[in-house]
């Protein structure tokens, strides 16, 4: 089930909120666990078993790590093997098998397993739990329901943010509910819903039209590339907003996941603002344990590229994702090796980041490396395409307002304007009107069509 759907908005969510707030305090996690399993089963009935197995495995490993000083390393490794093994089997097996077959010429049958929704998110969350218990950052959770509620918590189950156990451990045991929390949560959820449906999904349509273009042009390729940048940002950050908002309604405080990444002036800064929960996960659980930057230069280089290769692979089991990750590894290395880059004019650095990210997302969104090559060749005019065609101009006219609004929305401008306006008398009227409009418009878009793909489902 996705948040941006009528069944979620008008059936599942009202039902879970009603049951949750009617249930006694000590049963609230049980309600969350049961509804979260229903939420997951809605899209993946057969993989609920995998989910339950994951919960049990990590729960038992966590208990064993917390209980046995002697064997805690063994159980930590066991949990890592289970987590990585699940990802290996369900997400990466066919990638490695086809790579092996291509490299050796030995033909091996592919497993062709469907990717369980959200496996990368809940596996990483579970791993953070056992690692933090091992490190002594947090005690093992003895209550299976509480731990199950953490792993399956539907607001962030399928698309993050990657919520670490240590960050919500206290709230899992005891959390307060308030009208302010609910209000803030509803507001944040609706803003996220609007970002997803009113902006991201519209750019998804542009991308679909681009792929079916009868008269492609250089300009259309750039519209596609920029459109996808905006599509993925509003899609993913919108989903994160919804997750954080839902968390607030239920009394949780989830970590922020995006902080206007497109205003960055270096790739390093970009990754401090983009998918922050993933970046910090890799930093704390992979990069630093490998020695981080407190090692010799060669080892440091290896560390950087290892982390970025894994970051790429986390996004998908395909070579274009690996290259996408490595591309950022190279750019980060260059920025570290050449510090004078930071002294270039701000506008120039900004353009460099946007261009680098734009190219990276063309690679990211391609079906194959060959297609990425074709797209980039066409973008830079090496494909013999006309600069512009009538069809391109049609879509430019049709999406011009959306481009302008979404570029503004990707900067802090809208937030600053809202912060200035909301305390005023006009703001007190406009805010509720805006929220009502968001709910009605999003509902209208959902009712009118079912075109609401979610990009991060494949992760």
């Amino acid at each position: 089930m996705v948040f941006s759907s009528i069944p979620f908005l008008y059936y599942f969510l009202p039902a879970v909120i009603l049951c949750y707030f009617l249930s006694p305090k000590k049963r609230k996690n049980t309600v969350l666990l049961l509804f979260s399993l229903v939420f997951y089963a809605w899209g993946e009935p057969k993989y609920v078993i995998l989910m339950v197995a994951t919960i049990l495995s990590f729960y038992l490993c966590g208990l064993a790590i917390g209980k046995s000083e002697k064997y805690k390393r063994f159980f930590l490794i066991l949990s890592v093997v289970i987590g990585v093994g699940l990802l290996g089997i369900f997400k990466y097996a066919d990638f490695f098998i086809s790579g092996f077959s291509a490299a050796t010429g030995i033909s091996m049958p592919l497993l062709r397993l469907a990717l369980p929704v959200g496996i990368s998110f809940y596996t990483f969350q579970s791993l953070s739990y056992t690692i933090d218990v091992y490190r002594g950052n947090v005690p093992a959770q003895r209550n299976l329901v509480t731990f199950g509620a953490y792993v399956t918590l539907f607001p962030q189950l399928i698309a993050g943010p990657i919520v670490r156990y240590v960050d919500v451990a206290r709230e899992l045991e005891s959390r307060s509910h308030s009208w302010d929390g609910v209000s803030e949560g509803v507001r944040r959820f609706l803003v996220g819903l609007g970002k997803k449906i009113l902006i991201a999904d519209q750019f998804a349509l542009l991308i679909q039209n681009f792929r079916q273009a009868q008269e492609p042009s250089v300009l259309f390729y750039w519209m596609y590339a920029i459109g996808f940048m905006l599509n993925i940002y509003f899609d993913f950050s919108g989903y994160s907003d919804m997750a954080i908002g839902l968390g607030r309604i239920f009394g949780f405080h989830f970590v922020e996941n995006f902080n206007y990444p497109y205003i960055s002036r270096s790739v390093t800064e970009f990754w401090r603002r983009w998918h922050m929960s993933l970046g910090s996960w890799f930093r704390d659980y992979v990069y630093i344990p490998m020695g981080g930057n407190r090692v010799n230069k060669l080892r440091w280089t290896v560390n950087i590229f290892t982390v970025w290769m894994f970051t790429g692979l986390w996004h998908g089991a395909a070579w274009n994702f690996v290259l996408w990750g490595l591309m950022f590894g190279v750019l980060l290395m260059i920025e570290k090796i050449l510090p004078f880059l930071q002294k270039l004019p701000a506008a120039l650095r900004h353009i460099y980041v946007l261009l680098a990210v734009c190219i990276s997302f063309v690679l990211f969104n391609a079906e194959s490396i060959a297609q990425a090559g074709d797209d980039l060749t066409a973008m830079f005019g090496f494909d013999g395409l006309p600069a512009v065609t009538g069809e391109t101009l049609y879509y430019l006219r049709s999406f011009a307002v959306l481009f302008v609004l979404s570029v503004l929305g990707a900067t802090p401008f809208v937030k600053k304007a809202a912060n200035w306006l909301l305390p005023t008398r006009a703001g007190t009227v406009l805010e509720p009107l805006g929220l009502i409009a968001l709910l009605l418009l999003c509902t209208g878009y959902l009712v009118d069509g079912s075109f609401s793909p979610f990009l991060y489902f494949r992760f």
Binding site: Y10, Y11, Q214, E391, Y394, T428, V429, E431, I436, D448
Partner: protein, 361 residues
């Protein structure tokens, strides 16, 4: 005040939820002319396969309260505020709604040509039939280019049709039509505006031009298929039928039902698609019998829905006019019903069907 804002949103949310849960289900969407999905039956197998969830999502979308109003709200927002030029592929220019019909699907045109070639080689090749072909342009042919909307490559389509049917005389009617000859809210052309087109066809087929036809208003409440798809406020339109004293004596035999009916079925005006007033809408096989025909000639029209409005204007000379719609009857079965000898045969297909020909059998 802030609290009031969120309370209002939550109240609205709860109200819509209550309606979604407890309002009785509707059977039909009049604006979209289709049955609405109903609550799916629950079975363990369907739940485990996930098909129940899929069906439920369809039901939830179809039965959502104030569905048409929500669709209109979305369309207005998309058009007026986001500046989108089309909505669900439907655009409105000069008050006319049309579908973005592009790009040209050459494979689809070839598929149609294959079907037509099968009909020619199986039934017509060794007969004295005179064969004609006319491609009926959709509204976008006239509306889209001057307004900058993308269109299929019409000239390529016309060329492809001419090359693919070397055994038929091509008749070009594009010069006889303009956008005002189509309904504002529907795909189809207006029968009362087709006399010039009928004249061109009659000249090409060597028959008398239609005479003595007068338009009769039969409905002022027509809203076509694009009205439902665009979900935008558009006014109602008038439907006229072209009457002629000779038509009153004509009878229409429906091969499927084995019954006779009239050329204009006025009962259809209150149905899902009032355009069905012409020859009762989508029918596999019809024969119009004209006792007042000036000759003994017969006409067979292979046609789509555009042919329903056209055929009554061509029948003055013909003793019978047979209409075949191979979307509803397989071309392989035609010998069970028809014998081809020395009739005039007209292939009259719209660009919309040629570009989406998967339904041709």
């Amino acid at each position: 005040m802030k609290k009031i804002g969120v309370i209002t949103v939550i109240f609205l949310w709860v109200a819509l939820t209550a309606f979604a849960w407890f309002a009785p289900s509707k059977d039909m969407s009049q604006s979209e002319r289709r049955p609405l999905k109903q609550f799916p039956e629950i079975s363990v197998e369907d739940v485990l396969k996930g098909s129940f969830m899929e069906k439920f999502e369809g039901y939830a979308l179809d039965q959502f309260p104030l569905r048409d109003n929500f669709r209109t709200l979305k369309s207005l927002f998309s058009y007026k505020l986001l500046g989108k030029i089309d909505n669900n592929g439907i655009y409105i220019a000069d008050g006319y709604a049309a579908k973005l019909e592009y790009p040209l699907n050459a494979a689809s045109v070839n598929n149609a040509l294959k079907k037509f070639d099968y009909i020619y080689t199986t039934y017509l090749q060794n007969t004295d039939c005179k064969i004609y072909s006319v491609v009926i342009p959709d509204k976008g042919y006239y509306l889209a280019p001057p307004k900058g909307y993308p269109t299929m490559d019409y000239s390529q389509l016309f060329n492809q049709m001419a090359k693919g049917m070397p055994w038929a005389k091509q008749v070009d009617i594009t010069g006889s039509l303009s956008v005002t000859d189509y309904y504002r809210t529907d795909t189809h052309w207006r029968q009362e505006k087709l006399l010039d087109t009928a004249n061109i066809l009659c000249d090409a087929m060597g028959i008398f031009r239609p005479e003595g036809y007068t338009p009769t208003l039969v409905s002022q409440e027509f809203r076509g298929v694009y009205y439902g798809q665009a979900a935008l406020p558009m006014g109602e339109e008038e439907i006229y039928v072209m009457e002629n004293p000779a038509l009153a004596d004509c009878r229409v035999y429906n091969y499927e039902t084995g019954k006779y009916c009239s050329i204009y079925d006025l009962e259809k005006l209150s149905g899902n698609d009032p355009y069905d007033v012409y020859l009762s809408g989508a029918q596999a096989l019809l024969r119009i019998e004209n006792p007042n025909a000036k000759t003994e000639r017969e006409l067979v029209i292979f046609r789509d829905s555009f042919g329903s409005a056209l055929a009554p204007l061509l029948l003055q000379d013909y003793k019978t006019v047979t209409l075949v719609d191979i979307r509803y009857v397989s071309s392989q079965l035609l010998s069970n019903f028809l014998t081809f000898q020395n009739q005039d045969v007209l292939f009259a297909y719209s660009t919309l069907i040629l570009n989406n020909s998967a339904t041709l059998k």
